[in-house]
């Protein structure tokens, strides 16, 4: 089976993000970038399914030339080939969804796996929009019942169960888990507890450079990426104010009621 997995280049979640003084974006100098952590989980799931069912895992990223690094990291984990849709413009989730539609028309995968959201702008939209455009079934926030310390996990057993023309997915929902069955082809987006992504091996890193890698542009795919959402201004969250010591409980209650209006 052919599995298409998306990866996004995002700022290292541990980096201290600073907003530019003019509010037009964040300061990018000296920031480390890496694969969106949810996408790493998507890649891992793709690899497990390929190892169980045969076929190939194709990695797709949309973004600047620099995103080559993130596609290569996924190839180093063991994916088979990579595609970068190159643009220096800011992409909104709808543009990404429409780029994916075109790629899927070319590649005809049996399954598309994405991270449920990217940790930079936390939109959680591209997958849903893509599935809607395709008219496919979608299972977002894919998880599994086995925990991440289980023997199944150690044996790298896939969380998604593919049988014939369907895939069964356990989803994270408010207050619990939900099992759904989708007809293939389908879209699945990965949540945190679907698996523990593998480390790339040294031979994997060396091989990644030699794997097939295709560069495309939105123009070549005929996709208009003019954003429908634009960021007007970036602001840092307000500094936390210092706490105040109150002499007794009645004062606390009074303040909570009158000043904070919390009760």
């Amino acid at each position: 089976m052919k599995i298409l997995v998306t990866v996004k280049r995002v700022e290292d979640p541990e980096a201290k993000i600073k907003v530019k003084p003019d509010g037009t974006g964040i300061v990018t100098e000296g920031i480390n970038y890496k694969v969106n952590p949810f996408d790493e989980i998507a890649v891992e799931e793709g690899l497990r399914l390929r190892d169980a069912h045969g076929g190939e895992v194709v990695i797709v990223s949309c973004g600047s030339e620099a995103s080559t690094t993130e596609v290569r990291s996924a190839l180093a984990m063991g994916a088979d080939r990579g595609i970068l849709v190159k643009t220096d413009q800011t992409l909104d989730p709808d543009a990404v969804a429409r780029i994916l539609v075109k790629l899927v028309e070319q590649e005809s995968p049996d399954l598309v796996i994405m991270g449920k959201q990217a940790v930079d702008d936390d939109q959680n939209q591209a997958g849903q929009r893509f599935a809607q455009y395709m008219g496919w079934g979608q299972a977002t926030q894919a998880s599994k019942r086995a925990n991440l310390e289980s023997e199944d996990e150690k044996a790298r057993k896939p969380g998604l169960v593919i049988s014939g023309e369907t895939v069964e997915v356990t989803r994270e929902v408010d207050g619990g888990l939900e099992d759904v069955r989708l007809k293939l082809p389908a879209l699945v987006s990965a949540d945190l507890r679907l698996n523990l992504p593998r480390y790339a091996s040294l031979p994997g890193i060396m091989k990644a450079k030699k794997k097939p890698f295709q560069n495309l542009t939105p123009e070549e795919l005929g996709v208009d990426i003019t954003p429908k959402i634009t960021a007007k201004r970036f602001l840092s969250p307000p500094m936390r104010q210092a706490g105040e010591m109150v002499p007794d409980v009645p004062t606390l209650i009074k303040k909570l009621a009158e000043e904070a209006k919390a009760i």
Binding site: E14, K18, V27, E29, G30, I31, K34, T69, R72, S73, A76, Y199, A200, S201, L202, P203, G204, I205, M206, A208, K209
Partner: protein, 615 residues
């Protein structure tokens, strides 16, 4: 707060900007490497060190390896096996070793950078792989084809581990006193004796353990000239590579130590029942020569442990100091808000001293690794000899100076944390305890100092020292009128001259007063280490400066205007990194390098009171 952090930016800087290992990529052996791949390898190694190794470091410290006297078995703390399997499966163990035998064939310099991360992640774990590759490399160099075929691939891939069995109860620093015996029986020998302090001599990480054992054959000459080297498996290996009979090697106990608790330090008995077979590596009575190959590699790796743990401790104390609020800014008035302790001048000094030690010794180790690579790939015999000479000269410095100073850096990290640093709840005291062994094993630092003055300085009529001095001068001298660093270049020049004076003095007085150089060997090692590390830090600053200028120019700011550049550094971590490369070099020049003339004067003064004291 993250338990283990490494400034990978600094690792990349020392490797790619300073040592410029890209030169190696033209060589056919490394043609598959490029800058991006090197960075990808370091990023992945960091990920592994942080996510897989570092979490088990405190567990290893708390639980330690455990020994069962009834069975002679050693059990490692629970997470070690899983990590070992991942570590070996991902190709990290044979990183720099021969691809014909399952190694990955990477440059030493890059291997050192990777080990910098792994040692910082969990030192006790990393010793197993280090000993394994050390023993395997001995087999590769001195073993016959049959031994290579049976053992090498299984060791470079980590399926079997290895050890170095030198020390006996009566033979520590004096290896010549080894008493273990070997009796020839056809194509093998029967080994008998007891070895102590054998790291990873017994454990449950791999299915077999291959010991490299020093022993005496019958009628061998006394001392180091009568020592031979043997390959002794824990379990014998059949001709088809499957495991056969038990080989009569027994672990009779493990030591309780100050640090590296998860590295089992074993007492091993060989041939208690007269059935322990060993196979000769190299020739009879040539064991010491073979052992020196292993020891030189291992000494550089031990030096790296000093740099690595110094950096790990520094990073932790730096993060802590940035978060811990205590006291007021000393220049601010009463009623001013409390500040984080990184604002206090004394704490800042301690942090910068740690940074100078950590990043300076790291630069030393990576540069030594690069010289080792150049010596290997060079086809010009003269160039090859020059690089080999530099490696030999720098090895005792890399080992002795880095571990002495590295220990100080871990101790300073505890001091920065204050009372909390003294608690086992915080990781810095473990770094200090784990680190202490590095100044002792693989030849104590006293032995390193004797090696430096006795063998390395006079070797090739002092040509290696001349090369090193020439190399330092060439890189620093053109900057004598540098707009920012001229004064620091001048301090370095004086320190360098002091080093030359010290070395020349030894050559002069050695004949008349043979004790004088020996009494001052350690002082000389310290002097030379200070000069070499001071040079490397200064060289880094000289590389950083034009880049820092470029960033400032792009923002229309004068790079020499420290008030104006502060804003740029606050906005741009890359500018801040380069800025602090300059500051740490200046700090080191003014507070450490500046002491070198006094250090040289001390060793020329000829004090012998230690010999005169009654004690």
């Amino acid at each position: 707060m993250a338990e283990f952090q490494c400034d990978v930016r600094d690792l990349k800087f020392a490797l790619l900007e300073q040592a410029r290992i890209e030169k190696l990529f033209d060589h056919p052996r490394f043609e598959e490497l490029d800058r991006d791949t090197v960075e990808a390898i370091l990023d992945e190694a960091y990920k592994f060190a942080r996510n897989q190794m570092a979490p088990m470091n405190p567990i290893g410290d708390r639980e330690g390896a455990s020994f069962d006297p009834a069975t002679g078995k050693v059990t490692m703390p629970a997470p070690f096996k899983e990590t070992y399997d991942l570590y070996t499966a991902n190709g990290w163990l044979g990183f720099v070793h021969n691809p014909d035998y399952g190694g990955q064939g990477m440059p030493y310099s890059l291997g050192m950078a990777v080990n910098d991360l792994f040692f910082g992640g969990c030192l006790s774990f990393s010793l197993g792989p280090l000993l394994t590759t050390g023993a395997a490399h001995l087999i590769e160099t001195f073993g016959n084809d049959e031994l290579k075929k049976i053992y090498l691939e299984n060791m470079y891939t980590g399926k079997w581990t290895g050890t170095m069995c030198l020390t006996e109860a009566g033979a520590g620093s004096d290896v010549g006193a080894v008493r273990a015996r070997a009796r020839k029986e056809g194509d093998y020998y029967l080994i008998e004796g007891e070895k102590i302090f054998i790291s990873f001599g017994e454990h449950d990480l791999s299915e077999n353990i291959i010991h490299a054992v020093l022993a005496r054959t019958e009628g061998a000459p006394k001392g180091t000239r009568g020592i031979s080297l043997f390959l002794v498996p824990k379990t014998r290996v059949n001709a088809d590579g499957t495991l056969g009979e038990d080989n009569d090697v027994k672990c009779t106990g493990i030591e309780h130590k100050m640090g590296i608790h998860a590295s089992p330090t074993c007492t091993l008995t060989f041939g208690e029942n007269g059935r322990c077979k060993g196979w000769l590596l190299g020739e009879e009575n040539k064991g010491m020569r073979a052992m020196f190959q292993m020891m030189n590699e291992a000494r550089i790796q031990v030096g790296l442990q000093g740099a690595s743990l110094a950096n790990a401790a520094y990073q932790y104390s730096l993060q802590y100091a940035k978060e811990r609020v205590q006291g007021k800014d000393i220049l601010a008035g009463k009623g001013s808000p409390d500040v984080t302790i990184d604002r206090h001048p004394d704490v800042r000094q301690m942090l910068l001293q740690q940074k100078a030690i950590g990043e300076g010794t790291r630069a030393l180790l990576l540069r030594t690794g690069f010289f080792l690579d150049m010596a290997e790939v060079s086809t010009d015999p003269e160039e090859k000899e020059r690089y080999n000479g530099l490696v030999e000269l720098l090895t005792p410095i890399a080992k002795g100076y880095s571990t002495d100073q590295g220990f100080k850096a871990t101790e300073l990290a505890i001091q920065v944390l204050g009372g909390y640093g003294y608690l086992s709840e915080y990781p810095v005291e473990q770094y200090m305890r784990d680190m202490k062994i590095a100044s002792i094993y693989e030849g104590t630092n006293g032995i390193q100092a004797l090696d430096l003055i006795g063998r390395k300085l006079p070797a090739r009529d002092g040509a290696d020292m001349k090369n090193l001095i020439g190399m330092m001068t060439k890189s620093v001298q053109p900057h004598a009128s540098h707009p920012l660093l001229a004064a620091d270049v001048a301090i370095f020049t004086k320190a360098r001259d002091a080093l030359v004076a010290g070395a020349t003095h030894f050559a002069k007085v050695g004949r008349d007063r043979p004790l004088s150089p020996i009494l001052n060997a350690t002082a000389f090692l310290d002097l030379m280490g200070s000069v070499v590390v001071g040079w490397l830090l200064l060289e880094q600053a000289l590389i950083a400066w034009p880049r820092f200028e470029d960033i400032c120019r792009a923002k229309n700011v004068d790079a020499l205007d420290s008030k104006a550049t502060r804003g740029i550094c606050e906005e741009d971590p890359d500018a801040a990194y380069l800025h602090d490369k300059i500051k740490v070099a200046q700090f080191n020049a003014r507070r450490n390098l500046a002491l070198c003339p006094a250090k040289a004067a001390i060793l020329q003064a000829g004090d012998e009171s230690a010999m005169e004291a009654m004690l």
